[in-house]
Structure formats: C-alpha cells, structure tokens
Amino acid sequence: MKCLKDRLISGLLLLLSLALCFFSTQKFREQHKKETLFPSEGLASREMLSSYFPGLIDTPGDTEVYIYGGQNPGGNILILGGAHPNEPAGYVTAVILIENIQVSQGKIIVIPRANNSGFTHSEPQEGNLRGYSLETPGGKRFFRFGSRLTNPIHQWPDPTLYINPSGQKLSGQESRNLNRCYPGKPKGHLTEKIAFAIMEIIKKEKIDLAIDLHEAAPEYPVVNAIVFHENSAELASYSLMELQQIGFEFRLELSPNNLRGLSHREWGDHAQVMAILLETANPSQGRLKGKSSLSLIIEGKDRNYSKAAKFGLLFVPFDSEGIPVKLRVARHLAAIKILLSSFNELNPEKRIEVNHMPSSSQVKLKGIGQFLCPPYRK
C-alpha cells in the first residue's frame, strides 16, 4: 500500500515537472527571436560575421555587421556592442549608431550583437527579465536582456579549466565569455570562433581604431572607465581631457599585460589596432542588485546600491535617482564622439566624418527612444 502511495506521489511530481517544463517552453523559445533593427539611410552594406570567417556559417555565433561609409577614404573604425548581452547600454548605443549615422569620409563598422548566442538565454540564478521596452515616438521597441556568456545549448560542456588562446588560466565557464577568448581560434569552440572572426574583420578591413562597448557593476573598480591598449595611450588621454571639459568623469585604465584574452589587450597585440574598451555603471548586472524590474534596467534605480553607496562600497556615485540607461548610453556616445574627434586630430591623414550621430546632451535631455526608429518602420 505504502509502495503504491509512494509511486502515486512520484508520478504526480513527475507530471508536475513535465507540465512546468511544457508551459515555460514558450518563454525560452521566444528568447531565440531576434528583434528587428532599422539601419539609417547611411548604411553602405550589411554583411554577416561569417563572410569574414566562413567557420561561423549556420552557427548561432553568426551575426550582422553594419558598414557605413567607405566611399571616401579615411580612417576605419570598428564599434562592438553586445559582447556581453546583459549590459544594455553597450547594445543600445550600437543600435542608436546603426539607426542614425551617416559617414561621409572613412568607414565605420558596427556589430551590435557581438555574442549573438548570449542574447538567446539568461543565466540561471540571476533572475533577470527577458528584456525591456523603450518608448519611441511611434511606439515601444523591445530589446532583449541576455547573458554574459554564450548559450550552453550552443557550447557545452564547459571544461574544468579553461586555458584561453592567449594561455590565460580561467574557470571553465569563462570559455563562453567572448571577452576572454581573444584572439580566438579558427578551430576552437564557438566563442573562440566568434573572437577569431572579429579579429578577421579588424585585419581584413584594416581597422585603425576599435571600440568595445561594455558595462560593469557599480561595485567593480573599473567602471566609468576608458580601458586602453598602450597603442592608444595618446588617444585615450587626449580624449579624457575633452570628456572632462564637457562634464563626463572617466577613469583611464591601461590594459594590464598579464590579463590575457580581453579585447583591449589582444586587439592591440595581435592586430596593432588602437584598442579601447568603454565601461559604464550598470546596477542590473551587479551582485547587490535588488528586485529584477524594468525600473532597475531602464531607470537604474536600486535601494541596495543606494545603501551600498552610503557605506562607500561603490566606485561610482549612486543615490535614489539611480543611473538610468539613457545616461549610460549618453556617456558611451560622448566617449565615441570624442574618441573620433581626437582620432582625427592625431591622424589628419585618416580623417573620419560622421553625420547625424545623436549627441550625449540630446540623449540625456530627450531620452533614448527619440533616436530609435519606431517599431513598424519598413
């Protein structure tokens, strides 16, 4: 009798588990749908990352590459967003560039979803929302909030110990972190192939300056920072002064020589490009974050971080006003604009001219949505 009862309970729990998986499937499948982006009229061509490295064809790592300008020779710039899909300001800044800019001299290449696979899932135990909507003049646009790492459905299992292509020993899950896999491997695992393909773009397109857009938790020391390779020391310090003049405080951080596999180190070492990584403060990715909510992602408000700031635990000022995503995007845009103008001054023979790039002050004043296309545009 007891045996029958146990079996009944086990069967019931099994049925409950199956029902749980069945009813939540839809939510997980939705994460694999890409939101549509609406490039500006300045778009010269749209390629796939696999056109630079065929090893990515038909893989979840393949992603769109948007190319602007190129008609008149000048400097070549690469801007990467979405290397970590849980850092919204990096992704949204790249989208704003795609949907607004026109390049009359030189070339700008934007990859908004650098780790495309990372956008298709969210990390267990991080309790993140699936995405967030931004209000545009023509309605709401949805953007996905993904994971820092490649989806384990696409790359699994993690090794016990990951030794990246530059020989750095890391914990196994870092093998799915794009910004630890440079310079990549053509025959490596998926994330290493993505890193390799990005290196191929840098080399084949003869990139002069490459900018990687990121965010960091407010308790992390390298935040509101410009991390630079020694190749770009002059550019970074020149830009810092300009940014301070318009009211943006940034830290300057030299890329450490002994921390390998990151964009700001390997892009510079392996392709001799001027490599820059930009960090803003994102409370929705930190370990102190409170309830997962739209307010946390978009307005950047969080009681825990306000409390932590009072105890001096953060590396950025934080109060009840939070750090909204529009301010973080504005910081990225300001830094990009000044990096480009400083690049022009330091390299007059390789000028780059960009038009219709939203200014940081406009974004701060009007919000991000004003510079995004409405969701229904053809």
Binding site: F28, Q125, G286, K291
Partner: protein, 422 residues
C-alpha cells in the same frame, strides 16, 4: 513587501514543509521558492523556476556519473582489491597511512576543483582501509569529507579562486604558495586529529583476518585500468590541456564505469546504475530545489538584500560577516558563495593583496560543502562509509572545519603582514 520579509517567508515556508510536514528537502525547497515568487508579486514565475533548476546541471551530471563509477568499483571487486593492496602496504605505519590517505583523497579535488569528485573516487577507495584499521565509520567519513574540501582548495586547480578572480579581473597566477600555506597545515592536522588515536598498528596475522579478497590473481593488471584511466584523464585535462582532450568529468566517470564492466568480476550494469541513481536521487532533488530557491531569491531582490546587508557591516563585523555568511551560503553551493559573496568581499578589502584575500576566502567558502541541506562533501562521505545519518559525520568535521575557518580568517586579517613575507 520588503526583500527581508520575502526571504524570511521563504525560509519559514521551507521549515514548515521540511520539518513539520516532513516533505523531502528538495520538494520543500521547490514549494518555498514558489511561495516566495507569489509573495514577491512575480506570480508563479514558471520559467524562472525551470531556469533556476538548471543552475547545478553540470554538478548533477558529475554526481550521477561519479556514483555509477563508485558502484562499479564496488561490484566489480576493484575496490576490495585496492583496499587489500593499501592494507598490506600500511598496516604497520600509522602516520604514513593517514598522510597517504589524506593525499589520496585530496588528489582528485586538487585537479578538478570538485569535492564531490574527490569523495566519490579516491574517497571510496580509502574508506574501507581506514575502517579496517580501526577508525570508526563516522570519523572515516569526516576525514574523507575534510580531505575532499582541502583538495578543492589546494593548487593547482582552485575553482573558487578562479570564480572570484573572474569577478575582479584577476588572473589565476601566483596562487600556489598562498594556497599551500593554508592547505598543508590543515591537511596534516586534520588527518592526525581524526585518525591518530583510533588507527591501530596491527600484526600481520590480524591484518590477514581483515584483509578483503583481492581479485588481482583472477584479473591481473586490467583490474586497475578503470582507475588509471579516470585518474589519468582527470590529471591530463588540467596538466596537459590541448594534449589530453577535456571530455568533461561526467564523461570521464562514464568511461571508467564502462571499462569497469570488463575489468573485474561480472556485474549487472543496469542494476548497478539503478542503485547509483537511487542513492543519489535525494541530493539531486535538493540541488534542483536549491537552484529554484536562489533564482527566486535573486528575482525578488532577497539575494541582493543579503549581500548588501553583510557588506554594510562595520569593518570589524565585516570579518564576522565573512566567517558566517560564506560557509552558510555554501549551503546553497560553495561555488555560489564564492561568486555571490566572495567577489564583493574582495572588492570591500581592495586595499589588501587580492591573491591572499581570495585564497583565504576560498578556504572559508569551501566549508560550505559541509553545510546542510546540500552538504555535498558530508552527504557523499556518509554514503561512502555506509552511514545513514550524515549529521553524525558532520559532527566530527566540526573541529577541523573550525580550524580551517580560523586559518582562513587569520590569513585575511594578517594579509598585509603576509604580503611582506611572501
């Protein structure tokens, strides 16, 4: 509803279900996570429950396959043969036996960073030897559990440090010496503390009486093949990456189990596997439940509230916070403790040598593998020695664990001084 209230409600629901209604721990965790989600205004949050349950998917695979491997070793006679070999070698040498056993238990942990792997591989090999030499079942379990945790902290592979290093962009370089400073005194003292009084030096005839049957004469050297392959692959993937393929710990254990079918006494692999799954099911269920519990804690802000509260302690209390919160959070997972609490604690002590700080924190976080309800090291050590109540094993872990805590905290407190010495 405040985050604190949600957290307390979840804990209260868990206590009610597990202790009053006597539901299994794993099931209680699932329903308390659901209750927390409802109270936190998230509805049933089904996809969050499913997502959280995958938090320990890799650990679950390791546990299942390691259990199968252990059962194959038992059923095929390999375990008895190795026990006989070790007994013949050490029956006259008490200290050498204890230190060798400690090194053997630590070894898989040192190369995989996983205490579970250590308990269920070499832990299972040494358990009968210690018991036949006079050490009680529960003390044997305690020695294996502590050895496995020390192996997890010891170099060359300390995943806890790697996780913390990943959070603060610190390369995994220069940790060997600081970790050895912590681990060696602990390994020596723990093995002697637990075993020196009880292990008996016995005569040859007495040894022959307790000697289990060796199957070496029947099957020869191939009897050791599963062990050699498993240890070789575990070692190879960390010492010779790129040369020895990293097929993952679960696949290594499965390969060892498969070889075990052909290398010793005939066994019914279906029944052996069923027995392994049956014995590991309660802990697997707990891990799934814990994953859901943490996911809802994070979703509702309870996790962030806990981390912020500990970090907000005044400087002196911060050390108390570290000494209590990291092992306690280890009840969820030692790796989770390193990631969620270890990283903010390193940043809160950023003026100190981060290598020493993270080494010390890894020793403290490692103790989480003794913390119920998961208590991975304790539960599996109890299973290995055949003890039904794992709390009896944990009781004997208390003193060595406190010593480990003291050493870890001492390294943290005296980090500026040690920094000058090393």
């Amino acid at each position: 509803m405040s985050e604190a209230a949600i957290f307390l409600f979840m804990i209260a629901t868990f206590a009610l279900l597990a202790m009053v209604l006597k539901l299994p721990i794993g099931v209680s965790l699932v329903f308390s996570a659901l209750a927390g989600s409802l109270l936190g205004g998230e509805g049933a949050a089904l996809h969050h429950l499913v997502e959280g349950s995958f938090g320990y998917f890799d650990t679950i695979l390791i546990i299942v396959t390691a259990m199968i491997f252990m059962k194959v070793l038992q059923e095929s006679g390999i375990l008895d043969t190795v026990t006989a070999l070790l007994l013949k070698s050490f029956y006259r040498r008490k200290v050498a036996l204890l230190l060798t056993v400690m090194a053997l238990v630590m070894f898989p942990g040192m190369i995989t960073g996983s205490s579970t792997t250590a308990v269920l591989s070499t832990g299972a090999l040494v358990a009968p030897v210690l018991m036949k030499m006079g050490l009680s079942r529960v003390k044997t379990g305690a020695l294996i559990a502590m050895g496995a945790i020390l192996g997890m902290i010891a170099p060359p592979v300390n995943i806890l440090v790697m996780i913390m290093g990943g959070g603060v962009d610190m390369p995994y370089v220069g940790f060997t010496f600081p970790l050895l400073i912590i681990v060696i005194p602990l390994a020596v003292s723990t093995s002697l503390w637990l075993g020196y009084k009880n292990i008996k030096i016995i005569e040859y005839n007495q040894m022959k009486e307790v000697l289990p049957e060796s199957f070496f004469k029947n099957y020869g050297f191939r009897l050791y093949l599963p062990l050699i392959i498993v240890i070789g692959l575990l070692l190879g993937q960390s010492l010779m990456p790129g040369i020895i393929p990293d097929i993952g710990i679960p696949a290594i254990f499965l390969l060892g189990s498969f070889l075990g079918i052909f290398c010793g006494k005939p066994l019914n692999i279906l029944k052996t596997t069923q027995k392994a799954i049956e014995e590991s099911m309660p802990i697997l269920c707990i891990l799934v439940g814990v994953g859901m519990f943490i996911q809802i804690m994070t979703l509702t802000g309870a996790r962030g509230w806990i981390v912020t509260s500990f970090l907000s302690f005044p400087p002196l209390l911060l050390y108390l916070g570290i000494a209590t919160s990291m092992p306690l959070f280890g009840a969820v997972s030692a790796f989770g403790s390193a990631s969620i609490l270890g990283v903010p604690f390193i940043l809160a002590m950023i003026d100190k040598n981060a290598i020493l700080t993270s080494s010390a924190l890894s020793a403290v976080a490692g103790l989480g593998d003794l913390m119920p309800p998961t208590a991975l090291a304790g539960i599996f050590a109890a299973q290995v020695v055949g003890e039904a109540n794992y709390f009896r094993v944990l009781r004997f872990c208390l003193m060595p664990a406190l010593f480990e805590l003291v050493i870890g905290m001492a390294v943290l407190l005296f980090a500026p001084l040690l920094d000058k010495l090393i």
